[in-house]
Symmetry: none
């Protein structure tokens, strides 16, 4: 779909098209389109930019991943469709493993996502042959690899389901998420919650200096809520 260079919502429309392409390629689920729409609304409320509160979380996330013994980045259909190249670069920067992990899991979609990431320069992508299970989740939802997510001490789970984020947290892992909804269970289960659009957050994390000085996740989420609240009050 062509979008004029001058269109004021070009980035948003191009992002949307990447996901529709993702559905057509068998990478993204249809439920993923809905999840994306939800993110779009929160992004609008944020002003479609990385707010300083989010940048602080991004710095803390980079630091936690760099300090980890076995950092792993979990990839789902939306992540793969939206930032295939940058997420591979990020794994490289952070010496993290990549593991495909889907909410609506099918072996077919896992394979397609792995191929898609390989096409973008990825290698040794985990998830195709799960040999472990996250406790407390249904069988298909809990599948993961011993080498990757199961044994990870720090996991970056962008655009994650709340149940899985909570289950990973119960395993005493440090959970980092990227989620535009500051009220989601995922946002509140995580240790570091980046309330930002993944298409901005991942490129930011390729550049930002690591720092967790004074970082407090609950405080950070509260500040995001206050930021949106003040914007809406101004519009009422």
């Amino acid at each position: 779909m062509d979008i004029p260079e001058s269109h004021p919502r070009r980035l948003s429309l191009m992002t949307r098209n990447k996901l529709v392409d993702g559905v057509e390629k068998g990478i993204t689920s249809k439920a993923g389109l809905i999840a994306h729409g939800r993110g779009e609304a929160f992004d609008y409320l944020l002003g479609e930019k990385t707010i300083p509160i989010a940048e602080r979380a991004e710095r803390a996330a980079v630091k936690a991943m760099l300090d980890a013994d076995n950092p792993v980045i979990s990839i789902n259909g939306n992540v793969a469709a939206l930032v295939p190249t940058d997420i591979i670069k990020l794994a490289d920067r952070l010496s993290a493993k990549l593991e495909v992990n889907l909410f609506h899991r099918t072996d077919e979609r896992i394979s397609r996502i792995i191929e898609w990431l390989e096409l973008h320069g990825g290698s040794d992508i985990l998830g195709g042959k799960p040999d472990a299970k996250i406790p407390g989740l249904d069988h298909a939802r809990g599948l993961c690899t011993e080498e990757g997510i199961f044994s990870a001490d720090v996991v970056l789970v962008p655009l994650e389901d709340g149940d899985r984020a909570q289950a990973l947290s119960k395993m005493e892992k440090t959970v980092i998420t990227i989620d535009l909804n500051p009220l989601s269970r995922t946002a509140n289960a995580a240790d570091i919650t980046i309330v930002d659009n993944i298409v901005r957050a991942v490129p930011n994390m390729l550049e930002l200096e690591p720092s967790d000085a004074g970082f407090d996740n609950d405080h950070n989420i509260s500040e995001v809520l206050r930021y949106i609240s003040e914007r809406l009050e101004g519009l009422a």
Copy 2:
């Protein structure tokens, strides 16, 4: 698609699945999935419940439809997928006609939606043979029936596009919408804006007593924005 009985967001996920099924049945468009996601985000902000401000608008809507000479309910792919039975019951309660009217119009999708509604007990569904046009819209977008939307004095257009809501308003119809986004052009073009999830609003409208005592739409929308703002402030 199976969702564990125990999943705390089961209702929201089931609603989402109805739309995904709708796409597979050829009833709902892919753009409709993203639009639903945007609505979900605003529903989060409302606390996923019918707030008193919305109930007031629902009562006013029931009254306006009952008082109308030719009330019409417009159905699109998302409405058909989400509340097929209840929207038919509502048309019955309000002695309103039902007309299928799509943003991404194809004759195929119109036919499938009419069949789908008939399967749920509907009859005399308009929209399959448009013979009139809403002024000021592109040809395909403006198509409607003389008997239904074109001659209606009061129209309920749930989950409507902003351009069409404005065009109907310019025709001096009383426009009622159900839209979770209080900032949307549709919400602001309508005479009665119900800021509520359609899966709650339509069942409510089957039960509520009609009343428009002291109803003011602009005031109502501002109150919704303040409600969300305060709720976020309280959660911060």
